[in-house]
């Protein structure tokens, strides 16, 4: 291998002050870069993503950031110690169905686990398809039945081998799968979390018969009880593995070719970043990055500014994402799913609905109402105001008509007339003025956004009044004041790097690894010795994933739940002993109420232990960022903006030149080259020491 192996031993210290870190988040439309210099200075870059060759979009984006720093791409890369990257290559493979030809090996008699899919024909469907029963269907079957093979073996619930593995049968099965075209393997045997030996033997055979081919083992990747979700996890992993590995190889090469000698790390769905070798070993962990980077950046911002509860919102072109930080911690999804495929692994909880800047407004004649979405104009042709041939009115067009937005970013010109024409198309039939129709479109979209935030917070039994609403993504700040209305949150904050928040999160998050395993449910008393032994084992696995970098913190958790319940709570513990168990139970009840809601714990119901995990962290990569450097005064502009049907002469301020102690009252517009913040009449706003904009919430 090339320059990579020469690269980069880790800086031999636990914190990374003095290290230059670059975060690059490749999204569907844009690839964003944030550079945090060794001195804490920050520069950003943005470029269109290149779906056919994402590494090209990465280079373009890096080049833009280098330019902002007044240097060449080679100069930037030469001084960069760590490059943290979030990619959608794996996700795209899943979205387009163009992944590997997976061969699945499972326990004989249970080959139907994947196609049966627990009879789920509904969960994960769009809200429109839910009302059309002929469209009810299971998630896509990623492995055809002919490439699913049962192996003679059986482990029981306590890990006992009831039927020994027929090793010769494995060889025959593997040969059959190779003949059937398999170029990636997934292995999910019953009860492998309780006894992984059979899966290990299968992997040995596979590696002998098909050397170099990816093998996903459920006991390594998803050692959770519940064979269907464990199976889908290894299948998705094996499905995306060759493409992700291939992409990471290409990326390493182009970066090295341009002089990068630092360490490349990859965003993981469970939070934090991981080494490239770990990402190659479990590529499923790379499937989601952008939304997760944003939530992590919000968590860090909350920690710096003293906000323990944060709800995040990200308005994209076609989706609206909401995440939660509770008690200073990023939350993991209880039943994670990606593209309707469930995953049995830690995934940062981000909830999405299909509403964004490209959502199309239309008149539902049957109900006599104006509706927005779920159809979207996407990025091409995009909203009418892009001037690329789109003619249907979108949310972005409504924002243009109202005067919220006056520029679209470096590569797009704004066609205001096209936006007006498009919105007029729904205004006319409803007997509304164009401005009133635009107000209506924003109101209806904001309502859907508000409801998702409200549900995400309330479903966990929390009071929105305890939360700060963080707003990011390119368009979020245009609508935040609208959708924050009536939510009852404490305040609304638009971070200084709102438009590149995901890349910022990638640059500033921790290098982390974790290992976990489920146990057959049982009382804590029966499990103490087993847990202590397990912690030792898991710590080794996790440390192995971290690679050469020493961990600076280790967190052991035990997963507990009420008897037969499904809501599991992870509790931090040290070495366990029987006399600690009463305190552990008390902590369970407390945390249960914190997660599920006040008054919900039932101390009389038995509590069971169902699993354990060890999380290790090598600490954050980037140094603390510098305070913002205010640019020279720019004379405020003015434009007409419509609020509540009334045209307001509205001041237009330049974000970067605002005074450090700026405060103001709407109507006002604050613009940066990549973000527009809309402050409606009567809303007070201020800048904080970091350069974030805060708005009162009503």
């Amino acid at each position: 291998m090339s320059a990579l192996s020469l690269a980069s031993t880790w800086p031999a210290r636990a914190t990374f002050a003095g290290v230059q870190v670059v975060g690059v988040d490749a999204g569907g439309t844009f690839t964003d870069t944030v550079v945090i210099g060794a001195d804490g200075s920050v520069a950003v870059g943005k470029a269109l993503s290149v779906p056919a060759a994402p590494e090209q979009g990465v280079l373009d984006s890096l080049r833009a950031a280098a330019q902002a720093r007044g240097e060449t791409l080679a100069e930037l890369l030469a001084t960069t110690d760590v490059l943290a990257h979030g990619t959608t290559v794996g996700l795209n493979a899943l979205l387009t169905g163009k992944g590997a030809a997976v061969g699945l090996l499972t326990t004989a008699g249970f080959e139907a686990t994947l196609p049966m899919a627990r009879a789920n024909k509904l969960h994960g469907l769009s809200s429109e398809d839910l009302r059309i029963p002929s469209k009810w269907a299971k998630p896509d079957l990623l492995v055809p039945r002919q490439r699913i093979v049962g192996l003679d073996e059986r482990v029981t619930r306590d890990g006992t081998v009831a039927v020994a593995l027929d090793v010769d049968g494995v060889a025959r099965a593997a040969q059959r799968l190779v003949t059937a075209g398999a170029n990636s393997f997934a292995v999910a045997l019953l009860w492998s979390p309780a006894n992984p030996e059979h899966e290990r033997l299968v992997a040995e055979q596979l590696r002998t018969i098909a050397p170099g081919v990816h093998v996903s083992l459920s006991s390594e990747l998803a050692p959770r009880i519940g064979e269907y979700e464990r199976t889908t996890t290894v299948v998705v992993d094996a499905f995306v593995a060759p493409l992700v590995a291939d992409y990471l190889g290409r990326l390493e090469k182009v970066l090295a070719d341009h002089g990068f000698g630092g360490r490349l790390v990859i965003m993981r769905m469970g939070g934090g970043v991981q080494s490239v070798s770990t990402a190659r070993r479990m590529p499923v962990s790379t499937l989601q990055s952008g939304p997760i980077g944003g939530v992590i950046a919000a968590q860090q911002m909350g920690a710096r500014l003293g906000h323990r509860h944060v709800v995040t919102s990200d308005v994209g072109g076609t989706s609206f994402d909401v995440g939660l930080v509770i008690d200073g911690a990023v939350q993991l999804a209880l039943q994670p799913r990606i593209e309707r495929q469930p995953l049995a692994m830690p995934v940062v909880d981000v909830t999405s609905i299909g509403i964004g800047g490209g959502s199309i407004a239309w008149i539902d004649a049957s109900l006599g109402v104006l509706r927005v979405g779920p159809q979207s104009a996407g990025a091409d042709p995009g909203p009418a105001c892009y001037g690329r041939g789109g003619s249907e009115p979108t949310l972005t067009d409504a924002a243009v008509v109202l005067g919220y937005v006056a520029r679209l970013g470096p590569q797009l010109d704004l066609d205001i007339d096209a936006a007006r024409r498009a919105v007029a198309g729904v205004a006319g039939p409803l007997g509304l003025s164009v401005a009133d129709a635009a107000e209506g479109i924003v109101a209806i979209a904001s309502e859907q956004m508000r409801q998702l935030i409200r549900r995400t917070v309330l479903e966990r039994g929390h009071d929105p009044g305890d939360f700060v609403l963080a707003v990011f993504g390119g368009a979020g700040a245009q609508y935040a004041a609208r959708y924050a209305t009536e939510l009852g949150v404490a305040a609304v904050v638009v971070p200084r790097f709102a438009a590149e928040f995901s890349a910022f999160g990638a640059a500033t998050c921790e290098l982390r690894a974790s290992a976990e395993r489920d146990l057959p449910p049982g009382s804590p008393e029966q499990r103490v010795d087993e847990l202590n032994a397990l912690f030792g084992e898991l710590a080794e696995v996790a440390a192995g994933q971290l690679g050469e970098q020493p961990s600076v913190s280790t967190r052991r958790t035990v997963a507990m739940r009420y008897f037969r319940q499904t809501t599991r709570i992870d509790l931090a513990v040290d070495q366990l002993s029987v006399d600690q168990l009463p305190a552990l139970r008390a902590e369970f009840h407390r945390r249960y109420e914190a997660v599920v809601g006040p008054g919900t714990s039932r101390p009389e119901t038995p509590v069971e232990v169902v699993g354990a995990a060890v999380h290790v962290s090598a600490g954050a990569l980037a140094p603390p960022t510098q305070a913002r450097a205010r640019t020279a005064d720019i004379e405020p502009g003015e434009r007409i903006v419509v609020f509540g049907g009334i045209e307001h002469r509205t001041a237009v301020l330049d974000w970067d030149s605002l005074a450090d102690d700026w405060t103001g009252v709407g109507p006002a517009i604050i613009e940066s080259p990549r973000t527009t913040v809309v402050i409606p009449p009567g809303i007070s706003a201020r800048l904080d020491g970091e350069g974030n904009i805060w708005m009162d919430a009503r």
């Binding site: 139907a112 049966m116 969960h123 029963p133 002929s134 009880i225 109900l367 104006l370 549900r455």
Partner: protein, 720 residues
Amino acid sequence: MSANEAIIAEVIRHRLDAINEEAATTLKRVSGSPIAIESNDLNTVITAADGRVVACGFYVLGQVASMHLVIEHLLAEYADNPGINPGDQFITNDPYLGTLHQPDVVLVAPVFHDGELVAWTGSVVHQMDVGGPTPGGMDYQARSIFDEAPPMPPLRIVEAGVVRRDIEREYLSRSRTPELNALDLAGQIAANNTAVAQVQALCSRYGAALVTDVLDRLLASAARLTRQRLAGLPDGHWRDRSYIEYRRGDAAPGDEEIYVIDVIVTKAGEQLTLDFSGSSEQAPGAINAGYGALANYALGTVMIHLCAGLPWVPGGIVEAVQIISRPGTVVHAKWPAGVAMATGSTVHAIRTSLNVCLSRMLQADSTLHEHVLAACQCSGAGGGAMSGVGTDGAPFASMTLDEVSGGAGATATRDGGDTSGFTTSPGSLNVNVETNESYLPVRYLRRAELADSGGPGQYRGGVGAIHALTPDGTPKPIDVLSFGQGLQHPQAAGLAGGEPGAGSTFAVIEGDQLANLLAGDGVEVTMPTSSIQLGEGMVHVVGSQGGGGFGDPLERDPAAVARDVADRLVSRDGAARDYGVVLDATGGVIAAATQARRDELRRQRLGGRVPAAPQPEPRGALAFDHLLAVFDGSVICRRCAHRLSAAGDNHYVALIVERRPVARRAPLGLRYPGAERFEIRHFYCPRCARQIDVQIARIGDPIVVAALPVPDGSADPPDG
């Protein structure tokens, strides 16, 4: 509605759906019980002040579609004493007041704004146990409802926001699983609390008058849209019969009585009438549906099979639907008949028969063709309760939910979903083997898709599944109670000449017989009784039904059959027998042999006569369904233009009928005592031999005139 209200109405509509969905997720989260979370056996609603349902969730539609029955009862009986006041919540599981059966517990709450009743919110959750003589509350021995879990009339369990401890105890103390019921109750209370508070907030923001106006508008537009859809369909009568078996008390196996669910659907103009009055007299216990169960499942089925793509506002849709039934019948039980097993039997037969009628009706409109669905798995097919001593030495009573794995019906353009469960409980999930093995003293030996169980058709019905388990880690035999139907005959009907999916499987056998049973070697099986024990070394096998097929199986693309054989969803024998497709040793289609075999099968249908070739449909023929059209005053075959009868007359008399034993659609060749009482009737066009219809029938019952066009709106409903 003013222009701005078009926007506010949309905001409120979204808010109502969001509030209702949030109530369901709150319920699941706070409860956390396995039935609530694993199988999603629950639902939530928001209704208008008078109880008409405006918002309902996508879980078990049949639990809530007719929630107005419970609320109307409260308004009529409780307004003065004990009163209906802000902060109150009422609990009931009385099937004679509108719940499905005793285990489905309803909790509803009035929503007041400024002292005025503006709406109701509510939920239903299935409980593992609500008391009565047997675990799970279902008993073959029941002579009346007094031998089942005693139903609880509506009780004001929450008063002015405070839970009444005495009533809570009264409710929980009945149950064998009070700790699980307590979790669900807490979840239901929390769900109502959040929904009530948010509807109130909506009233504060927009004014109660506007909110109730939007509720009324949603109800009115759903009614209007349903009527519009009906108006676009031809007038006519559609009829179907389903059969369920039930053995009184301790009669011998094989002596099951047969109960008929009979429905005549009449569509005239904008109105739909569902007439169940031809159904059998009620049974003494267990299988009967109360009127509430009939109304819930009838309306839920109308939503799924008629109202696809329309707003699912049951309180509006119901205005276009009239239900006719006779008290004292199996679909409309009279107190004190037992009803606890209705959800495992009669309600699914109601759904299946209505499904078939409505899907036949939709076929007339080519724009609605995509919504046509043959029947999915009918019954719980082997579902039941298990009880005994668990691995921890403590008694247990639980369900495996293995029955949630049957096939979906084929559509007019696609195969039915394999192992995808019920349409009326779309959100229900099958449980992982490892989860069941964690909590039950059993070990699964097999869980597999069942080849040939999907109903043959041009589009195949989805296959069902077979599950086999054995005791593991218990000192005592496990008691197994099955309430599965469809053992003696198939139930999931096909459409347009598609055939029914395979029936259910239930067996408790010695372990060494499993291989023979799976190989179809004719292992002896008996109908389930109330006292079956699964001892050490024995195996319990349950199979879920396949879905019905669509269209004549001889018209299925042979390549699709070959693919099914490669996927082991159809056997090689099945390919030749059911589809007339002949494969070579590698599984490829032999085209000439297939054509010859299909020709031969068509000749057999005509008793050896050579069938006529297809003819173009005459111009001006008006499609009545997929296979029949009305032309020049006659009903004609759309494949060969053969005139079958005068329009409005019974065209079935012109069809060739072939009666086949039900064994042909029995899974694994199993034969239950009593199966000889049933047959499958195949109806062929006498000229071109196309299969026009396939019916499951008790031998001796008259032929059902399944579809009867009424060109002038004057013909009488079909008899026979």
